[in-house]
Each structure stands twice: as structure tokens, then as C-alpha cells.
Symmetry: C3
């Protein structure tokens, strides 16, 4: 299902410009490296356009927005669009403040995203922008945590959001949904303990950008592969940490260990994915 | 001694808003997760009031103050006070610059802290604010590293500072003192190697906020439990790292491992604490 | 060859002020601690002069420059110069933007560096400043990755750059060159996998500052020792990680493990160095 994806990342070592939050920035850089890419972090308005022009893909992550660097996400996003680089949005904490909501909604208007990846609460905020004027309430839409009961609806909403934004939509959680307007991958990799280390979502977003940059024209499959890979490495990392008598600390180290050595064979055998 | 403390954290999973330094921010987030809470980092003046209103507790850490985010600590502190959330001050590097001293002293005037936690040098700077006009010199007060000789005096000074600030005072070091105006816990957990990894103090402060948020009305005991827990996990982490032929690198990973699986039974059996 | 270097670091525990990028700041702090120093990070213009005056050495790293903290690198650099503290420049991503190039070139005019450490691409940008008006093109000079073929030329260029800047020059990569105007150390420690974890260069720069601060008057030898030590610990960390079935994640932890316990005997036996 994911033939060629990892190989192209390894061959091309795409350079990814990350404007990302300061909480998880080290782990994002290390995960981009581990998954086969190369990261550059830069967020000053005076240099982001030049930096992104040197790169193959761009991450915009809203985790620790600062008013003095908000112009950077627009400048970099537009330049990356002009250059045809994939731009990935991670709307971290989208609902936590007006500053985040407004910034995200303006980004959706001004920047064309290749992928938008968030948890279900964040993606609800993203979707609401595109539902303005509709009769749905705050709790409707893709906002509920995905489970077997609401899965059908989550997939429909993700595909609808994909149609409206032109982006591949990845809603991650206990069950992950990766959808474009035509297809949806339902992914059941991952481990609940991944929520107990900070930044697994941010790291995945960095990976997604690298894998999409190396696989142009095959974005949906590349995103699905990245989501499976992160979930699989999370499972393996927790299992290994437990075997060693450790926990979340060792798991964090092993997550990079497993990602750094992941093969297509392992991914194909370990993936738990359904294509609808 | 600490019955119920951990259980309440695990049940409530308090959400902690951290305005903290960029050196240790990842490790603080991971420790808040490991000890049972959930962290949000946000420090832009335009969003901190909204973010803290979503949370159950607030950390203000002065480790890497920036003039453009200093207004944030006042805005968040006052909002948290208005909402009755516990606010914990970590006066990192309090004596390193006029900017830090002035900010800390203004904070002490404008924000009511539930807990102030620092090492003895930092707490000396905090105490001096409250000794203005008194005849004591710079080297007096709680400024000396706590040892068996000066312990009585450190406890008295901590209790005096607690009376003046209304906060529980935690002075951590080789011997830790946690005091309110009535009681003092003397804690001898911990390992000297904990000073050789950055951020053990900052991580403890994050923990303290989470444990206090989940144990309202029982702040002094919650702080003492957190200080014991961090010290105990530090001992275990160093011991494990040594057994594995490692050192400070593995210790850092194992610190989160042990905190993530700590039980009340382990804490009760491992604590080295005296209540005066 | 490196007798006394580590011992003086361990005895003096030099305090190092780091104005460094946010991607690797935690790992830099932990490496400064592991190698025997003590770090303080502070980058607000209002406090950097005071902070650096408390310290024994200064790191200026351009990895995530921000316009609002750029004044800090000049203020701290000049103050450290006035106090006779060693100042180490790490021109991270020197060629990535005009902002970085201009800042680095202005720094070279206004601050006297004890050491400049970068990879060959970064050092090329540094050297070009000092070649203005000369007929060399962009691709000439120290810009090519160092290999056995161009080694002679890299050494000559490094010595020339040292003469012009008055700094010890460290060009790190598969082969490392540490040179002053008289001597050059050719170092073949290290492991290719060190490039797969973020910040090994930044960590080395922090170490270099600590080791130079503790060994005044012996800067070139201290830099060479630090470069050997980092390379050696990288080799050992990767080897250990592999033995344990791990990869880049464990390697990152073990790098600090090995640095934290490195002895002169290990360094002397493990060094792969040639003095020309």
C-alpha cells in the first residue's frame, strides 16, 4: 500500500522549514531527521521567505503563537505556495484563544494548504470557519473524538472539509482518519500512551511535511503512510519501554529509535489501515 | 502522610498553564504529563488571559524573561487569582539581573501566589523584597544553602516568608524545606546528580502546580508530596541509570519513567520526610 | 596531548552564558552540564550584559535569530570582550538568509571571538566576509566538505581565517580541523549518525566555551580536546545504542551519558588526532 514512499524520502532527504512551537521544537527537529528529512527552524519575519525558498516543504504550527512572529506564518506560507512547496498546517490549541482562532482562519483564507493535521477538537475549530452561516453548533461536525460509532460521520466531515479547503485532512486520535475528497484511510495504529508524551502530534506534522515533499502528486497516500508509521513506532516504542521496565521517558527515546530504522516491510506488516 | 494526593491528580488530570523558560519547556511539559496533569504553554500577552481561564493552575517561571512577554505574567497571574486558580512562582535566576529582580518583586506585589519554589539563592532574592528596610545584609536570611547546621534558621525564615507572602514556601536543595506559617516539612529525598541535568527545578514547579490544582485546601501537603516525589524519582532514576552503565542522559529519561508510574505506596515507602 | 584540560573544567565549573537557538537549547544546557560547566541562557537586551558579567564565557549561536534579540548578541559580546571572557561564535545556518549573513558579518566586525566553530558551509560564509574584494568565488575557500583530497587547503584556509579574525577556527564535519595561525589539529573522531540528531554542533559549541573558559591561554588545545571529546562520545553513544537495539533516540541519551563520565584517560586513548 505504501510502496516507494519511504524510499523517496530517504533518497531525497527533503529540507523542511518549520515554524513551530517552542515546547516540542527539538523533538520535531529530531523526528524530521529520524524519518528521513532535514529540518530548518526559522520564524523571524525578516528571514522566513528566504529560508522557505531554500526548502522543499513548510510546517505552520500554532502551538506558541507570538504576535511578533505571526506575520512570519503568512509570509512563509505565501512564498511556499508561490514555489509550489507543500504547506502543512497544525492548528495546535486552535480553540484556546481568539488569537489562535483568528490566525488559523486568516491562514485558511490566505494560504493553500496541502495538508491540515490536528486532533478532533482542533479540526472542529478549523471546520467551523468553513461552516460560517450554517446552522451547526459548536459540538457538531468533526469535533467529537473519533470512535467506531461516529466514524462514518467523521469521514464524511473530513471529506467535506477536504473539498472546501483543497487540503488532505488528517484527524488523529484513537482512530485516525486521513481523507481527501475521494478517498479515506481509516488507521488504527498507535497507542494511548502516546498522549502522555508531549509533541507526538507536532512530530507527526513535521514527518507529514517531509513525506509529502518527497512524494509530490501522491499526498494522500504519503500522509496516510506517515500517520501509520508514527502510530506503529509509538506502539513499538511503548512495548520496548515496558519490556525494559521503563515508561514514558524511554518511550520518547525509542520513538525516534524506531522511526530512524523503519523499513517499508515493517510498515506494510505493521500497518492497521483500511481504505474506503 | 500523602494519602489521596496522587489519586486526586490522576482522577482530575488538572490542566496547567505554564509561562516558563525556553530552556526546559519540553521537559516541563513532559513532567506535567508524567505526574498526572496536562500542560498548555502560551505566553503572548494577547492570549494568556483566555488560556489561563481554561486551566486549573498557573506556573510563572522567570528563567528566560523577555520584555515583550513580561506583561503576560502579570495578565495571567491576575486572571488566575480572580478565578481562584493556584499560581506557582519559580523565580529562576532571580539574582541574575535587575530585570528579573524587578519583575519578581512586582509580581509579589500584584499577584497572590499559592506557592513559591526556588533554590536558596533565588529565595533569598524573593525574601529580600520583603525585608526592605530591615537591617539584614545580602548574605543573611534564607540565602545560604540548607544544611544540618542552618536548618532551624532556614525553617524559621521560610515560615516568616510564608506569613508575609501568604504562599507556601519551598526551598529546594540538598535538604528541602516546605513551609507554611504553621508547619514545615523537612525532606531529604533527592540525589546530587539531579543538579547535573537541566530543569529538575522547573519540572518540579510544573508538578507542584498540577498537584496543588488537584488538591485545593491541602496545598502545603501537596507541595511536600511533590517535592518528595521528584526527589524519590531522581534517586531511582540515577540508580537505574547507573545499573545500566549510563549516566545523566539515561537519568533524564528515567526521571519521567519513574514519575509516570509512581504510586502512593512507593511514595510513602520512599519518602524521607520529617514534619515539624 | 590533552592533559589537564578536563581536570580544570571539573575544578572550575565555568559558568557559560548562552545566547543560542530554541531548537537545541535544552540539549546545549545539558551538554554544558555534562561536560563540566554550568549554563545560563538569557537573551533579552535588557539583561544580557548583567548576565554575561556573572559568567566565565559566552556563546553566540545564530540558529534562530530574532530581530528583537539581535541587539543582545552585540551587547553581550562587547561586554564579554571588555571582561576578557572567551566568546564563541556558532554561525548556524549562516547562508540561509541575509539577516543571518549580515548579523554574522557585523558581529565579526564588532566582537572579538576566541573561537568560531561551524560546518564547512557556514564557515565559508564567515570567511567570505573576510575575503571581500578578493577574486574568490562563492564556492572557493573553506566551503567544500573536508575530505582527504582538500584537507591541505582547508587547513590553509582555516589558518588564514584565524590570522584575519584572531580566533581559533573549528571547521567540523567528517574530518574536523581546529586551527590557529600556527597549529592545526586534524581530528577523525565522530560518527556519521551524529548528523541524524539535531544539535550536536550546538552542543559542541557550548562545550567549547566551557572548556576554553577553564583553560585560558590554552584555547587551541582546549578546542581540539572538546572536538575530540564530542566525536568520541558520539562514537561510543552510537555503538552503545546499536548494542541495545536502539538508534538515534538512545544515541541522544547516551551522548550525555558518555560526556558526563569522560576521563582524560579515555580521551587520550580514544582520540584520533594529528597535530600539524
Amino acid at each position: 500500500m505504501f510502496e516507494g514512499i519511504l524510499e523517496r524520502v530517504a533518497t531525497q532527504r527533503p529540507l523542511i522549514h518549520c515554524i513551530t512551537n517552542y515546547v516540542t521544537i527539538t523533538d520535531v527537529a529530531n523526528m524530521v531527521l529520524a524519518c528521513g528529512g532535514s529540518p530548518i527552524m526559522a520564524d523571524d519575519p525578516q528571514e522566513v521567505e528566504e529560508v522557505t525558498a531554500l526548502c522543499d516543504g513548510l510546517v505552520l504550527n500554532t502551538g506558541t503563537l507570538h504576535t511578533h512572529t505571526i506575520p512570519s506564518v503568512f509570509l512563509a506560507g505565501k512564498r511556499a505556495n508561490a514555489l509550489g512547496h507543500p504547506v502543512v498546517l497544525d492548528p495546535v490549541g486552535a480553540g484556546a484563544s481568539r488569537l489562535r482562532r483568528d490566525t488559523i482562519h486568516q491562514l485558511l483564507e490566505q494560504v493553500q494548504f496541502a495538508v491540515i493535521r490536528g486532533n478532533s477538537s482542533e479540526m472542529r475549530v478549523v471546520a467551523q470557519q468553513h461552516l460560517t452561516g450554517a446552522s451547526r453548533g459548536v459540538d457538531a461536525g468533526v469535533g467529537d473524538a473519533t470512535d467506531e460509532q461516529n466514524l462514518e460521520k467523521v469521514v464524511r466531515d473530513a471529506q467535506s472539509l477536504s473539498r472546501r479547503t483543497g487540503a488532505v485532512i488528517a484527524i488523529t486520535g484513537a482512530i485516525d482518519v486521513v481523507a481527501d475528497s475521494q478517498r479515506a484511510y481509516i488507521i488504527r495504529n498507535g497507542h494511548p500512551m502516546m498522549e502522555r508524551i508531549t509533541g507526538t502530534g507536532c512530530m507527526l506534522t513535521g514527518m507529514v511535511a517531509a513525506w509529502c515533499a518527497a512524494n509530490p502528486g501522491d499526498t494522500t497516500r504519503a500522509v496516510a503512510a506517515a500517520v501509520c508509521a508514527m502510530g506503529l513506532c509509538g506502539q513499538l516504542a511503548w512495548e520496548r519501554a515496558q519490556q525494559e521496565g521503563g515508561g514514558v521517558g524511554l518511550m520518547r527515546a525509542h520513538l525516534a529509535d524506531f522511526m530512524g530504522s523503519l523499513t517499508t516491510k515493517q510498515l506494510e506488516e505493521g500497518k492497521r489501515v483500511e481504505l474506503r
